[in-house]
Symmetry: C2
């Protein structure tokens, strides 16, 4: 991707926001016209399955792209909400795709983003105990928040416990009990949505724990 291509890409970008916490970014079924990259804040994507129950698909931090899974159809397959004040860049997808036919590096980047989402969903589908899920979630969040820099171990969760639980396919009560257990084992320091990872090594051990005695699926 040379300078001219970068300029072409830049022209497609439309800055959006700040959007207030709780704002709808797009909704399931809306015509798919744009990808978006998060510039600030946290975005939650979710869907309602046939029984009418909300299902959280992911949380998106600054630097991450949302709306990719819409590329298949003409409509968004999920909803996206702002969990806190959010700023976005929007790209017209058809224009990006057209540009990608001229710029192999851009096409490759789009493929990379899509297959990263596949890997993400496959990890979510893995069969692991509740404590491993929460531990992995916190470590993943910590790594993504620091974006390459050495992770500080301090997190400010943008989402309520219920969203974490839903995302991890657990009951909110289970998440609460796990936070308590991790704190009692002095893996974390927790006060509301402020979390500090105090023993990363042992938290990683929990995250890799095998299914062991499972009850649920």
């Amino acid at each position: 991707m040379d300078k001219r291509d970068l300029r072409d890409l830049h022209v497609l970008v439309e800055h959006v926001g700040p959007l207030a916490a709780g704002a709808h970014i797009f909704r399931e079924g809306e015509p798919f016209n744009a990808l978006a990259a998060v510039r600030a804040g946290t975005v939650k994507t979710w869907r309602v399955d046939r029984d009418g129950r909300e299902q959280v698909l992911g949380f998106h931090l600054p630097g991450e792209v949302i709306g990719l899974s819409a590329i298949d159809g003409e409509r968004y397959p999920c909803n996206a909400d702002a969990l806190e004040p959010v700023q976005l860049c929007r790209f017209s997808f058809t224009k990006v795709a057209t540009l990608a036919t001229r710029v192999p590096g851009l096409q490759r980047e789009l493929f990379r983003l899509l297959s990263r989402d596949i890997a993400h969903a496959e990890r979510l589908a893995a069969d692991r105990p509740a404590e491993a899920r929460l531990a992995a979630f916190l470590l993943d969040l910590s790594a993504r928040l620091s974006r390459g820099n050495p992770a500080t171990g301090h997190l400010r969760l943008a989402m309520p416990r219920a969203d974490i639980a839903n995302y991890l396919r657990l009951a909110p009560e289970t998440v609460s009990r796990l936070f308590r257990r991790f704190r009692d084992d002095s893996l974390l320091r927790v006060r509301g949505r402020e979390v500090e990872i105090t023993d990363r090594r042992r938290l990683e051990a929990f995250a890799e724990e095998p299914p062991g005695h499972r009850a649920g699926s």
Copy 2:
């Protein structure tokens, strides 16, 4: 995509097989050089997670493409085995990608295939009771085997129960008991790997069942 493009695509195709049941098509970590489309037979994709346990990611029937999730990196992220005698078409991915920069329709098709895999993995990650998982699995398989034609309701499962169970994140015993229950409720007729769906309507009702009283995740 016009005729010349079709011819260009055709040149990239290499017919492979028949491969015997149990044959390895590619293995995790191998350099990623080709996509493959299944022409006959059934392919299982799977991975070993850090605890050394096998995790089945999917089953691929004639007409379906495997290896897509490798597009991200330079290496296959999973293994692919033949469950029964299999015939394939292999495409050099780099050549397909290069061609895709000239043929927007092909690029769009690749995006479509990738985002379909995202949707698949998200469905797998959904939190539903064991009976809903198995019911949905059988209905999905039935639909994919008939490829548009009216589904006959008759299935010949290419995979052992253990693979079905692993794919659905259940214990093999649970799958066995569910087959028995579905048969006792006369939703299915089952004899080994021969399955006939005798009451599609009620099977669909089971497939959409809400989590209800769950125990596991």
